[in-house]
Symmetry: C2
Subunit: 206 residues, 2 copies
């Protein structure tokens, strides 16, 4: 047997590829709710039954597509967060790529966020998305640690916990934008204000 991957594996990879492309194209062009799973199956040239062996739900199909973008954005953000000389700017640089104000179909972004939080426990693509989220959270922890030399950490503060506090707030802010309850224009300024409060507090120390 010469081929290390059999016909079976190749067919499978082929279908996976076709499904990804069909889902990507349709979701991007029409938006989540206007796309039916039939359309995706048809365009990928597979049966509906087949579709659901490659992703366990319509929402997972979207996550499959969105994860790709987020993977790049996360990488980019983490790289960019290395250079700034203040924690605020480092955190802003980390999240900047996530703030690609999507003009038209922010419905996809909203559904993505929704499914990350509330989607089925065992979804494979959701798991991947959650891993990206953790990556960002950890990156914030790294940033905070990086500045413990130049800034005094207030006694009793756990930096990992603080990283989570910070990320929670920023995550919620991104969700707010995706569901249209906040103006994307002012997002950067709002985020900066949030970060500022988080790092230095509301009340001054005595």
């Amino acid at each position: 047997m010469l081929a290390t991957v059999g016909r079976r594996a190749r067919n499978k990879a082929d279908k996976q590829q076709r499904i990804f492309e069909a889902a990507s194209e349709l979701f991007t062009r029409l938006g989540y709710s206007a796309v039916t799973t039939q359309m995706i199956a048809d365009q990928a040239d597979v049966g509906t039954g087949t579709l659901f062996r490659y992703a366990s739900s319509k929402a997972e199909l979207l996550m499959m597509v969105m994860n790709e973008k987020m993977r790049l954005d996360t990488r980019e953000g983490i790289a960019a967060s290395a250079s700034p000389t203040s924690p605020t700017e480092a955190i802003m640089a980390l999240l900047a790529p996530q703030i690609h104000l999507p003009p038209a179909f922010s419905e996809n972004t909203a559904v993505y966020q929704r499914e990350i939080l509330f989607g089925a426990e065992q979804g494979q693509y959701r798991t991947e998305a959650l891993a990206r989220i953790s990556e960002l959270e950890n990156a914030i922890g790294d940033i905070l640690r990086r500045f413990t030399g130049t800034l005094w950490v207030r006694p009793g503060v756990d930096l990992n916990g603080a990283a989570r506090t910070t990320f929670s707030t920023l995550h919620m802010e991104l969700i707010r934008v995706s569901i249209g309850r906040e103006d994307p224009q002012t997002l950067t300024a709002t985020l900066r204000a949030h970060v500022d409060v988080l790092l230095y507090g509301v009340f001054a120390q005595r």
Copy 2:
């Protein structure tokens, strides 16, 4: 005609009441996903078509039911937040009633949170839920203002913005519990830590 409200209005109120009770009982007993709209219609003794004139979706039916509890919890929390002598404890007292660790059907809570964030824009019961949320956010603002006499507000901090930062974090934490990604047992301690960081910051002032 003696009755100031016609038969029509009375029938309407009757149906509303029956639907509320049916939805409440079924959701509580079986959990959101195990309840079908047919069951609710049957138990309320109305047609399916009728059901959807009183609530525009199944999710809205749930919100109708959950809002009732939240209305009371919010009232209670705001009242309890008046007495504590530190901002941290006041905020904890405000949110305490929301933390009724629901042992079994936390599915309802998760769906409620999901719909508050991502539900249809024009839902009437969602609007009501959002009003409760705003109430809590404003209450946090009030708490912060209450302590501006005894604690110094760090220059440049907008208290309303800070209130939102605080509420965002705590809201996200409650969601985390509702979707089972955090242990309800440790929630109170975690929340306190969050609030502490938010109020006094990660880094000490020089």
